[in-house]
């Protein structure tokens, strides 16, 4: 098994205006995979398909080496899932919701669950319905972690949480990954939060997985160049020009992918000069990538 999650030609129609088309998603075993995309891109729908909560209309899904949804009984026992909306009944107490989960998951670690409960300051006899948003988020993470999953699927796990809670939650996830080498699929539209954590990135937009690559390739390759004197047609380049925008005079801003410092020479050979090269962080790169992609459609 080289991929914790693998889909081929995954298709799903959700209403008239939205469809997943031929999604080929691959989460390498042991990776922390950042699943990025704007709201409504289809991230949650994809996750639900992976876990058998929705039925695909075409394609295949393999999770932890087993075919989904056929093997969902065994697969779901090995997957920790934090859904976009809490799925624990509000009338249960914190302690009861933990007992309920413990009953379903063979590998539930009660000692560690207790430790996380103390760390997260979740009081045993509080009703789930009376918890704050942050406390609920921490409880969901506790329930997903304490079952010792081989794969963690986190759907916007920190959305709407305050910075302190976000930090607690991410620290718990990273601690678990350090100890167990689990794979993580984490979706978010909070791009900067994933920047330091993920080693793989998948970008989804309008039901289409438009890019999937190792984080270092994503970040190293994408730059903003300031170029002067470039001809209208630049022909073949050793890098990919995602967009060109005019500035003052003959100056232009280029967004490029696959840039290496030696490529300045190529730009000069077509009579232009690179006056500056700006590194983009993940968020800039992500936004620019989406923009250039949408312009092409």
């Amino acid at each position: 098994m080289t991929f914790a999650v693998e889909t081929q030609q995954l298709r799903y129609q959700a209403g008239k205006n939205f469809a997943l088309t031929d999604v080929n998603l691959r989460v390498p075993v042991g990776s922390i995979y950042g699943f990025l995309g704007p709201n409504g891109a289809g991230k949650t729908t994809t996750i639900r398909l992976l876990l058998g909560l929705l039925r695909a209309e075409g394609g295949t899904i393999t999770v932890l080496g087993e075919s989904m949804p056929a093997a969902y009984v065994t697969v779901l026992g090995r997957v920790g899932y934090v859904p976009d909306r809490p799925h624990v009944h509000p009338s249960l107490t914190v302690g009861e919701s933990m007992e309920l989960h413990a009953a379903f998951y063979m590998r539930w670690d009660a000692r560690w669950a207790g430790e996380l409960q103390r760390q997260f300051r979740l009081v045993d006899d509080r009703r789930v319905g009376s918890l704050s948003k942050g406390e609920t988020g921490k409880l969901m993470m506790l329930l997903a972690l304490a079952q010792q999953p081989e794969l963690l699927v986190l759907d916007e796990p920190t959305d709407g949480l305050d910075p302190v809670v976000r930090r607690d939650v991410l620290e718990a996830v990273l601690g678990y990954v350090s100890d167990r080498q689990a794979s993580v699929l984490i979706s978010s539209h909070l791009v900067h939060e994933l920047e330091r954590i993920c080693d793989w990135i998948g970008v989804m937009d309008r039901g289409d997985l438009m890019a999937e690559l190792p984080m270092r390739d994503f970040k190293n390759g994408i730059k903003r160049l300031y170029v002067t004197g470039a001809p209208e047609l630049v022909g073949e380049t050793p890098f990919t020009i995602l967009s060109r925008a005019p500035m003052n005079g003959s100056a232009e801003q280029w967004l490029v992918r696959g840039w290496e410092p030696e490529m300045r020479g190529h730009v000069e050979s077509i009579g232009a000069v690179v006056t500056d090269v700006i590194d983009l962080d993940l968020e800039d790169g992500f936004v620019e990538l989406l923009r250039s992609f949408r312009d092409k459609r």
């Binding site: 042991g30 922390i32 930090r167 991410l170 620290e171 718990a172 990273l174 601690g175 990954v177 350090s178 100890d179 900067h192 920047e195 330091r196 954590i197 993920c198 080693d199 270092r216 190293n220 500056d276 590194d279 983009l280 962080d281 993940l282």
Partner: protein, 126 residues
């Protein structure tokens, strides 16, 4: 020791972490025999991928700055004076490289930059 990690920098995070540790050893902030935080601790503290910390520690080990004893942790090695002063020179170059790049961007002349540097080295304008 790790306050200034910059995800935007073209220097990969693992190399930034390794640079910070090397500097802490060169400056005497970390002494021979002291332990580095565990991968688990540092990964959680910096909120970086555990693999990034592992890679940084491996590089430090290859360079002879630290040694890992299984089950016991990662320890600062006895680092020679030469290596320590070389590391300080490397750090100086890194700092100046960033400075020069930013100055170019702002159109600051080399002479103005030298003057400003001398001014700061002599205690600034206080």
């Amino acid at each position: 020791m790790f306050e200034r990690l910059d995800p935007r920098s073209p220097v990969p995070l693992y190399a930034q972490i390794a640079d910070h540790v090397r500097m802490a050893i060169a400056s005497g902030e970390l002494r021979q025999g002291e332990t580095l935080p565990s991968v688990r601790q540092l990964s959680a503290q910096l909120r970086v991928n555990p693999a990034t910390v592992v890679q940084a520690y491996r590089e430090l080990e290859d360079d002879g700055f630290v040694a890992t004893r299984h089950g016991a942790g990662t320890f600062v090695q006895d680092v020679s004076k030469d290596l320590r002063s070389r590391e300080r020179r490397n750090a100086a170059r890194r700092l100046v490289r960033d400075l020069v790049r930013d100055a170019r961007r702002l159109g600051v002349s080399p002479q103005d930059l030298r003057d400003a540097l001398d001014h700061e080295l002599n205690g600034g304008g206080r």
